[in-house]
Amino acid sequence: MDHLDRLENKSVHILREAYSQLKNICMLWSIGKDSTVLLWLARKAFFGHVPIPLVHIDTNYKIPEMIEYRDKFALKWRLDMIYGQNTEALNKKQTFPDGNISRIDCCKKLKTEALRNTLSGAWPRYRINHQTGRYEVDSNTEPYTGVIVGVRADEEGSRSKERYFSPRDKNNDWDVGDQPPEFWNQYKTDFAPGTHIRIHPLLDWTELDIWEYIKRENIPVVSLYFDQGNGKRYRSLGCAPCTGTVESTAKNVDEIVEELKTGKFVNIAERSGRAQDKEDGGGLEELRKDGYM
């Protein structure tokens, strides 16, 4: 059993625990490489099926290829695909690209608020209809109380403190100082009414693990990660206005793996291209406490 097998087995075990023990769960799919690996692991866990709804928060500023890719695989893999959006902020132009608010506040509105209200069912959810291939307003407005998320411990400081099963209170607050113990494959899967839970099956994975697994399993990823001939590619995917490309000529998964192992990115953090992290010392941590994933 090699390194990737070990990671895979643990993640699969966690996904099965979540599916068996928690009610009203969903999985966040950002279309990025991490949550796509997570989706693939769900197919592993459930033998080719994905019995858990996938939720995508569409900020309307996602790079168009991401949405095309999402819908293609939602239909191909018969995913229970759902998206949510902060239509009010978009209509009122309360966004950073419109020049009206800061990057962090834009993230709060288009991601954090949209996510919170989509999960709670307060705002409309759009669910794919596999007959027509179109999204329709979902009649189910029950809150999702368990959310499976593809965060990794190596991404930044606050994520390194996460549990595999991490409870949040009614306001989505995360009490970092008082987290449940986790040992011997036993996780906190009993919850008082009103508790929300985040499940993090990818906690032990690194960026390199993700790419090596994509390579081994031949997982299709969105082409934005590869250099299309102009010597630039995305290393981390987000909204078009706030996510920059990196200088790289990696054209396929093999070349990305090689670049991460020996090339210039060996010691450069993955999220260094994300502008919102830099606005204030604890940008991402602040966002995460409010419910940002």
């Binding site: 068996s20 033998f47 400081g157 970092v176």
Partner: protein
């Protein structure tokens, strides 16, 4: 390795991966003895930090007029830096030529023992840090004990802050002598003792120039000399069943028993026995997604298999192989545990025990002895306080399957749940004869009926839930097969069968829309008794299942006694369930819902 057309470069990458090992290391020790500094130093001195990180933290310190500390690298969270203590087990990734390490920084503060345990339980080795200047403290001992109880075999002791004691050999010798005596008592032999100064980097990655009297390894060298844990392939097969999957909706007819192999090896054709039920079948196939067909799976694999006969098994059972060592099945156990709960552990209070994937209600019948892990003194006490280690006897209300810690440690481990929280963990050291049928019958019955719980068969319970669900949603007019299945979590095939039989018996009818169901108008809710619903599914209703007779009974007398009790129970039960109507159930549901917001489970 499905792609055979890999070019040379890729093959190299792949091989490297196979050869390279992983290891989880935990750093433990008393608060302020310098654990985070050791890690910060290891990361910094080996170039394992992202570019700019060190400069960024240094700059932050300069701006806030604080002296730079390596610990700040790890203590990335704001509130943590404010408090100056590690409050959780942060993970760092770290590489040497030999291995990829995950270093888990466990908090030393007594408040956070549960976090330290979460970190240490994942580790294959522990680095125990002791401050040379301050000497051995309470948590130096407690952590040593916990690490050994959690099953971490390799311990390296780092005597830190040697710079504060002038790199004096005598101070170092005194610390290791005293600490070795302690470790001896708990049967731990450390693999290394290393004098270090994490702040200055002495004996971390570089050999110290100030302690020429020390001839041993640096911390970095010591890490690479630790051994990786072997996977438990040579032990009896154990796989706690996580779930049984059938995705018929997607036209997949496989019925897959899923779980993670804890120990041993399972092969196609093996005869498997599930415990505690004792049901047997054979492995027809081993299933996986995007993987070549496998004939066997071994320890550590999250897998699934189909069986030749469609026997009914479920989450909580443990799959074993016939002919290999059997697990124990029983209701009375002698355990060793550590307590993490805010409230002390009490006797005669109900807790849940989670062992493998099984969850059982238990009571602690006796606290045999409570050990203070910080000084190893023990005494007889009525309660077990937070951070204490104790030996006690527990009684489960239903039979559980387990192994003993000295035979198969993996499946002897359990956690205790109270009020939704994991409040303790432990190992089962002995299975005791349970004579509850005779001397403790009354006690048992009180527990048994005190919670208004009866063990209804799965199908019976599904039948009740179907009727209940349709009644509760009657006003919406919508109760389709799919909705009932998802609301009540009932497999659709079984649901189909139950509903068909209810329609045949005239209890249900189809709505005009042909897809949803309603209760037939022949009877009002208070005329439909629970008994009548259950009787449509089972000819006879009995309060106890076969386990009642199967476990703990050895003699004819006991057998006859059990039969008489069982018969009396059954008579009473039939009276009671006839007296409860659907109306009662809904009234109770509304009451519970409005009081606590919780769903009422049948």
């Amino acid at each position: 390795m499905q792609d055979t057309k890999n070019n040379n470069v890729n093959n190299n990458i792949h091989n490297e991966n196979i050869d390279k090992e992983d290891m989880n290391i935990v750093i433990v020790g008393h608060v302020d003895h310098g654990k985070s500094t050791v890690i910060g130093r290891l990361l910094a001195d080996t170039g394992s930090l992202p570019d700019g990180k060190l400069e960024q933290v240094k700059e932050n310190c300069r701006r806030n007029s604080k002296p730079f500390e390596y610990a700040f690298l790890l203590d990335a969270l704001k509130d943590e830096q404010a408090q100056g203590i590690t409050i959780d087990s942060a993970r760092c990734f770290f590489k040497t030529k030999k291995r990829d390490y995950i270093i888990i920084d466990a908090p030393g503060h007594i408040e956070f023992l549960k976090n330290m345990i979460s970190g240490a339980a994942r580790a294959e080795a522990a680095l125990l840090v002791i401050d040379a200047h301050e000497g051995i403290q309470e948590n130096s001992r407690r952590h040593g004990y916990m690490v050994s109880m959690l099953g971490v075999k390799q311990v390296a002791v780092l005597v830190n802050k040697m710079d504060l004691v002038n790199f004096d050999k005598k101070v170092y010798d005194d610390v290791i002598r005293e600490y070795s005596e302690f470790l001896n008592k708990i049967n731990v032999t450390p693999v290394f003792f290393i004098p270090i100064s994490a702040v200055l980097g002495d004996n971390i990655a570089e050999r110290s120039q100030k302690m020429h009297w020390y001839k041993g390894t640096t911390v970095l060298e010591a890490l690479d000399q630790l051994e990786n844990a072997k996977l438990s392939d040579d032990k009896p097969f154990r796989m706690p069943v996580q779930d049984v999957y059938k995705f018929t909706k997607d036209k997949d007819n496989r019925r897959i028993v899923a779980g993670t192999v804890e120990t041993g090896v399972l092969k196609v054709g093996d005869e498997v026995v599930f415990y505690p039920s004792g049901k047997k079948t054979r492995v027809k196939s081993i299933e996986a997604f995007n993987k070549e067909k496998q004939e066997e799976v071994s320890a550590g694999t999250a897998t699934g298999f189909t069986t030749t006969e469609q026997i009914y098994t479920r989450r909580g059972e443990i799959a074993t192989i016939r002919g290999e060592q059997k697990p124990k099945v029983g209701t009375l156990i002698n355990v060793k545990l550590f307590w993490l709960g805010k409230k002390p552990m009490e006797t005669n209070k109900k807790y849940y025990l989670k062992i493998g994937t099984a969850k059982a209600e238990v009571v602690v019948t006796e606290i045999t002895n409570v050990l203070d892990a910080s000084n190893l003194s023990s005494e007889k006490k009525e309660t077990v306080n937070r951070n204490d280690v104790a030996e006690c006897i527990m009684k489960s209300l239903k039979p559980i399957a387990f192994d003993l810690s000295n035979e198969l440690i993996e499946t002897s481990r359990f956690v205790v749940i109270d009020d939704y929280e994991i409040v303790g963990g432990g190992i089962i050291v002995e299975a005791l004869e349970d004579d509850y049928i005779t001397s403790q019958l009354e006690d048992h019955l009180r527990l048994f009926m005190g919670n208004y719980k009866i063990d209804i068969s799965r199908k019976g319970s599904f039948g009740l839930r179907v009727i209940f669900d349709i009644a509760v949603h009657a006003d919406d007019g919508l109760a389709t097969l799919e909705q009932i299945a998802s609301r009540q979590n009932i497999p659709e095939t079984l649901l189909d069968e139950i509903i068909s039989s209810f329609i045949k018996d005239g209890l249900l009818e189809q709505h005009d829309d042909q897809i949803s169901f309603k209760l037939s108008k022949l009877k009002s809710y208070d005329e439909i008794s629970m008994g009548s619903i259950l009787h449509l599914i089972h000819e006879k209703i009995r309060v106890v299942n076969d386990n009642f007779v199967e476990y703990g009974l050895n003699t004819m007398v006991e057998d006859c006694l059990a039969m008489n009790i069982a018969n009396a129970f059954n008579e009473k039960l039939n009276e009671v369930i006839e007296a409860i109507s659907l109306q009662d159930l809904i009234a109770r549901y509304d009451e519970v819902k409005s009081n606590s917001g919780t769903m009422y489970f049948i």
